[in-house]
């Protein structure tokens, strides 16, 4: 994994993003105060289980949230410009040229009645003044770039003639056509078979190293994060609960949820009798209880007998350099001394 330095101005700065769904049963706080920054050329992973808000976060960045969902607060600054202030027409220009997106089901994202060549050419024509011939040539070049064999011929193919892996390659080609600053990849390999997933991960690693596009990688699979991401945020029930450089997060997961997640995954070549289990289920995001959203499933809360967890919501604090966590194990509060002190205070910790 390459570690790109993040000293430069962030490309994307998401501040206090809140996206709620106004359902018949009440207000569902799908994304509830999410902050993160993505540096230029960085691969930023967003990981979590179903319903944690990772996909709604990405749709909010693209302003693609449908009713009854609504972005109710926050800022999405792309190179300093707030995307949430843009008119729909301005936003259409941003999509594709500055931010593009690939989805889990590549086949359902392609138009079945046009050839894939036509669909890539269309991307150029919408956003650029370009001749048909040049556009077609560039489309073929892109297909070659993403590893489609015999690209001249394949440009004439219709989506149903492609395998799942090829369709995802075509989606990646389309997404990169206009050299966007940011690519949002929402579960790009989840629907693919293992050997095909490996091919797509390999392609994405290659693109990460050879293009200037930053990536927000959304996945439920920590293995995909380990393969690709420079930095990672773990989401739970609409909030980021931990964020850090990928190596740091895998070396020393701080949040009990992250720890539980890592322990609950069977790892190839590392068999154990029983998997660790996070008891219970993700809470309903309508009518949430006060306090930490993970409290009801948290073993550490019980172990340390912490009452504050069910009363006050912890903040996302920087616990170690660049490594943030939202948990009362680490944060001080009036009348609450955290059981685990910051790394800076204790030299004996690595």
């Amino acid at each position: 994994m390459s570690t790109k330095k993040t000293t430069t101005q962030p490309l994307l700065d998401v501040q206090n993003l809140k996206t709620y769904f106004y359902t018949d049963d009440g207000v569902l706080t799908a994304v509830d105060g999410v902050d993160f920054q993505v540096a230029p050329r960085q691969v930023f992973g967003l990981v979590g289980e179903s319903g944690c808000g990772k996909s709604v976060t990405s749709l909010s960045l693209m302003r693609l949230v449908d009713t009854p969902g609504k972005i109710v607060d926050g800022q999405v600054l792309l190179q300093g410009e707030n995307l949430l202030d843009k008119t729909p027409a301005e936003m259409t220009k941003v999509r594709g040229s500055q931010i593009s997106m690939i989805f889990q089901q590549p086949k359902s994202s392609l138009n079945p009645v046009f050839t894939i060549g036509d669909q890539i050419v269309e991307v150029f024509k919408i956003h650029e003044t370009i001749s048909e011939k040049d556009a077609r040539q560039q489309a073929v070049e892109l297909l070659r770039r993403v590893g489609i064999p015999d690209p001249e011929r394949k440009a004439q193919a219709y989506p149903h003639e492609l395998s799942g892996g090829q369709a995802q390659r075509v989606m990646i080609a389309m997404a990169l056509a206009l050299k966007p600053r940011l690519l949002i990849a929402d579960e790009p390999t989840t629907a693919l078979d293992a050997t095909i997933q490996a091919q797509i991960l390999d392609l994405m690693q290659d693109l990460r190293d050879t293009t200037d596009t930053a990536v927000i990688l959304i996945t439920h699979d920590l293995g995909v994060i380990a393969e690709l991401a420079d930095r990672v945020a773990v989401m739970y029930a609409g909030k980021i609960v931990e964020e850090g450089d990928t190596t740091a997060l895998f070396d020393k997961p701080l949040h009990p949820y992250t720890q539980g997640l890592m322990g609950s995954i069977p790892v190839l070549g590392d068999t154990k009798e029983r998997l660790e289990v996070i008891p219970g289920n993700v809470p309903s995001l309508i009518n949430l209880q006060p306090g930490c959203r993970f409290a009801s499933r948290c073993g550490a809360r019980v172990e340390h007998n912490l009452e504050i967890c069910t009363q006050v919501e912890p903040d996302l604090i920087e616990f170690d350099a660049g490594h943030k966590v939202r948990c009362w194990l680490y944060q001080e509060h009036a009348g609450h001394t955290p059981p685990l002190k910051a790394f800076a205070d204790k030299k004996d910790r690595k």
Binding site: M1, H220, E227, I265
Partner: protein, 335 residues
């Protein structure tokens, strides 16, 4: 190859699949004549011993689900034999099959579509008892409650409807429904792949507990290698309708002898960003089972295939190490 030679001496299998074939006709033309066969399962043999879990792993279209369905005769096999405690399942008549199904059950992948939305789950679970004429309503109700507790649910869940449950709970209900007849053998067809990882761990642990407590035998069908490694005692790897390799878990994962198994394992994403992983990248996609490659079906994607041999002669399963069977002409090179 004689399929029987794959059974190990001294142990008698609970289930033995012998030369199983399942072809789906492809019809075309004006008269809808049969023009070809999709050979979803093409000469598959294996045995499962009492109390063990056999993992069946492979990518989409390899035939693993077709194998599991033909074993319970949810699909009728084209040829072959399936022996359950010595009795040929494929030759059983309707009454015989009904009897056999008391001992052979299945849990499906999608817990959302495999439960009747209009029945309280207690009734869904009790249905098998009704079909087999077991107990009176009161006894059935008590058996339902007992099995619900066994899978980690509560008594009051019996009167609820499927939509009131989460995915993990629904899969527990699916398991309860399979357990209600006290079967000896359960096919688990991708039982955790629709679940979130934290819920997946709960269900995997439950399956292990139930196996120990009730002495169950499992066929665990899945595409996720790490999950299969975790739960299985022995593992069979399928590719395009055939078994490529079958071995005890430790042997298979420590030293896979088939190039396809090796590639499949190297395709699993790494567990830590610092891990160095040599990846065997296979070129191309899985070919269509409608028109499988000649010779070894894996040869067009195989990094070690030798033309003139692998594309001509189909390799048979050979035992190269104790209980370790592999269908590759050059598997000795990997020992």
């Amino acid at each position: 190859m004689s399929a029987k030679s794959q059974t190990s001496p001294g142990r008698s299998p609970l289930i033995e699949v012998r030369n199983l074939k399942k072809y789906y006709p492809v019809r075309g033309g004006l008269l809808r004549r049969k023009v070809a066969d999709v050979k979803a399962v093409d000469d598959v043999s294996f045995a499962i011993y009492p109390g063990e879990t056999l993992g069946l792993v492979g990518e989409s279209g390899c035939g693993k689900t077709t194998v599991s369905k033909t074993m319970l005769r949810l699909e009728e096999a084209t040829a072959g034999h399936i022996f359950f405690e010595g009795e040929d399942v494929l030759a059983a008549d309707a009454a015989g099959m009904k009897n056999l199904r008391r001992n052979m059950q299945i849990v499906f992948q999608d817990p959302y579509s495999s439960l009747d939305p209009r029945l309280p789950v207690g009734e869904s679970i009790a249905e098998a008892l009704v079909v087999h004429g077991i107990g009176d309503p009161q006894e059935r109700f008590e058996r339902v409650l007992a099995v619900l507790r066994k899978v980690g649910l509560e008594d009051y869940h019996a009167t609820r409807y499927p939509h009131q449950f989460s995915g993990g709970q629904r899969q527990r209900i699916g398991i309860a429904r399979a357990l209600i007849l006290d079967p000896k053998f359960i096919v688990l067809d991708e039982p955790v792949s629709a679940l979130d990882v934290s819920i997946q761990a709960q269900v995997l642990n439950l399956l292990s507990d139930l196996q120990q407590e009730l002495g169950l035998t499992y066929l665990f069908v899945a595409h996720n290698l790490a999950v299969v490694e975790h739960i299985s005692h022995r593992v069979a790897v399928m590719y395009l309708g055939r078994v490529a390799e079958i071995a005890p878990r430790k042997a298979l994962f420590k030293k896979p002898l088939h190039p396809y198994t090796q590639a499949l394992m190297s395709a699993v994403p790494k567990k830590h960003p610092a891990e160095k992983k040599e990846r065997i990248l296979l070129t191309g996609d899985v070919p269509s089972p409608l028109n499988p490659p000649t010779g070894c079906r894996f040869h067009p994607r195989c990094p070690v295939a030798r033309m003139g041999h692998c594309d001509v002669e189909e390799p048979q399963l050979r035992q190269l190490e104790p209980e370790h069977w592999v269908a590759c002409h050059y598997a000795e090179d990997f020992i």
